[in-house]
Amino acid sequence: MDPKPTTIAVEGIAKSFKGTPVLRDINLEIRAGELLALLGPSGSGKTTLLRIIAGLESPDSGRITFSGADTTRVPVQKREVGFVFQHYALFKHMTVADNIAYGLNARRRADRPARNEIAKRARDLLDLIKLEKFADHYPAQLSGGQRQRVALARALAVEPRVLLLDEPFGALDAQVRKDLRRWLRDIHQRTGQTTIFVTHDQEEALELSDRVAVLHAGRLEQVGTPIEVQDDPASVAVLRFLGDALDVAAEVRQHRLLVNDRFVLVDVATRGDGPTRLHVRPWQFDLTSLEDAHVHGTVTSVYRAQGRAHVTIERPGGAVFTIDTAQAAMPRIDERVGLRIVGGHLFD
């Protein structure tokens, strides 16, 4: 492997398709050896950004550097990136081993390793992806998860400077997804390669990555560790994208936060007085008596799963939301309940 993993800098990248901007002034630094998730909903521009980094698409403005060297105009063939496509893009007329060896065989004679060296490298990679017995199979004979692993091995075979994965688990079912996630993490730890993957699944991003870059409508909303983006979302868009939240009217008065004229334990030391909105996650509620409640409503459904109660409540105005609590006492349907807020994020 590369002794010094590559850093990638994305500087002021913008791109539009037929006049529709899909990326606006993206600035992002990817550290050497880190596993970064590009997270965002459909149409946020995350795949386009990945394709621009790979050289499959060229930006309208801005530049990309690999370890400080400008690669914006370097063609994809020379950029030394390993790209794993969402639908694998395996060569279906080639065996698994030939697929993996493709990039090495494609080299000019002078740069091409000897035949037995290529074969050995393919074997090692088959080993790595635990498909030793499938060397002579064709892609059509493999399952989705196996194809994905072959696609990754193929990308790794050319010893790329960075590994780029586009929705790597998007087309797989839930169980295979979970296994592959853990496996990708392992591989990354073993190779220590700078890796970027695109996903629209927050859980996947939060579980796998060292840092998450959240894109929304072509803008980079926040970059941070999974914990940072969860605990301190930079915008409502990030907050919303990372999970459900109920926003309630609140007021700051003398460095205290009040909802429904009752105190909420959220730090507002640096805020001036005035109205604001408090965004509360489902687990930041406790069931309580009506007198103590920050908000109240009528229970419309209740179920318990994996040790937690999920209670759906209709507020007087008609708004419906579900809370998620570890409390043992379950309310009945049609019961009027009060909720105490134990945390939340403030956005005006």
Partner: protein, 280 residues
């Protein structure tokens, strides 16, 4: 009815007995019965009889010309047909749609019309022929004329069999190859072309099979000189006009056998490629 019901999977859609029964009846009377007549006649002649006919130098040379020129024409049609299919599918240029529509022309244009048109073009006093004659090349009334006519006939087979597959090429395949460092040429040769080979072979076989049997577009331009530019189908017509049914049937059965061999080949290619490539 009970027997047939067990042969097909149950369905609520009505009309199987009626439509299938009618289709089989018509197929039997229009296609199979007449072909059986040829098979019957051929078996009456026997292998020995057929060999005797084929040993006749004029028949042998006609078959050689028909098969040889068809092979050459099918190769050329497949080659240029592939380029045409690629260009028509992948590139955008003015007149593309018009050209694409024109590919079907040999399907729709009567062979005799094509025949006299080609003959007039390539005759020594024709537009192309005159120009070529000036540099000493003679097309009309030589095997080259047969070749020109058979390329004309073969083009749509070559183009239309590969065209849909070229349209379906997954761009990600080409991108994947590029990210792995392959040059465009390497990508085309190793990643794009191989999956198209079965379709190219199918188009080639169709063009070849059609070329062996082609009559109308060839006879006007070929000149029909025995031993030089006389094709097998024409010899059948000549034998028929001489009431030599044995000779006609012998040649016909050889041609029919060749057609069936092509048909079988096509089915084998398709079965193989389906097994190999499946759906990824």
């Amino acid at each position: 009815m009970a027997a047939r019901a067990s042969l097909r999977q149950p369905s609520v859609i009505p009309g199987f007995g009626m439509t299938f029964g009618y289709a089989v009846l018509v197929l039997g009377i229009v296609v199979l019965l007449p072909l059986c007549a040829l098979a019957l006649r051929a078996s009456a002649i026997g292998i020995g009889g057929i060999i005797d006919v084929v040993r006749d130098p004029r028949v042998a040379s006609a078959l050689r010309i028909s098969f040889g020129v068809s092979l050459l024409a099918a190769i050329v049609a497949s080659l240029f047909g592939f380029v045409a299919a690629w260009v028509l599918t992948r590139y955008n240029f003015p007149g593309r749609r018009l050209l694409d529509a024109i590919v079907d022309l040999p399907f729709a244009l009567p062979t005799a019309v094509a025949g006299i048109a080609l003959a007039s073009l390539y005759a020594p006093n024709g537009i192309v022929g005159g120009w070529l004659a000036a540099i000493g090349i003679h097309i009309a009334y030589t095997p080259a004329g047969i070749f020109v006519a058979l390329v004309f006939i073969g083009v749509p087979f070559a183009v239309r069999t590969v065209q849909p597959l070229i349209g379906e090429i997954d761009r990600e395949i080409e991108e994947a190859s590029a990210t792995l460092g392959a040059t465009r040429w390497y990508t085309l040769v190793h990643a794009v072309l191989p999956p198209l080979v079965p379709a190219i072979l199918t188009g080639f076989s169709l063009a070849f099979a059609r070329g062996i049997g082609e009559y109308g577009s060839v006879i006007f331009i070929a000149g029909n000189l025995p031993y030089v530019s006389e094709i097998a189908p024409l010899l059948i017509v000549i034998k028929l006009s001489e009431f030599d049914y044995v000779g006609a049937c012998a040649i016909a059965s050889i041609m029919l056998a060749a057609s069936f061999a092509c048909l079988l080949l096509i089915n084998l290619i398709q079965a193989w490629s389906h097994r190999r490539f499946g759906h990824v």
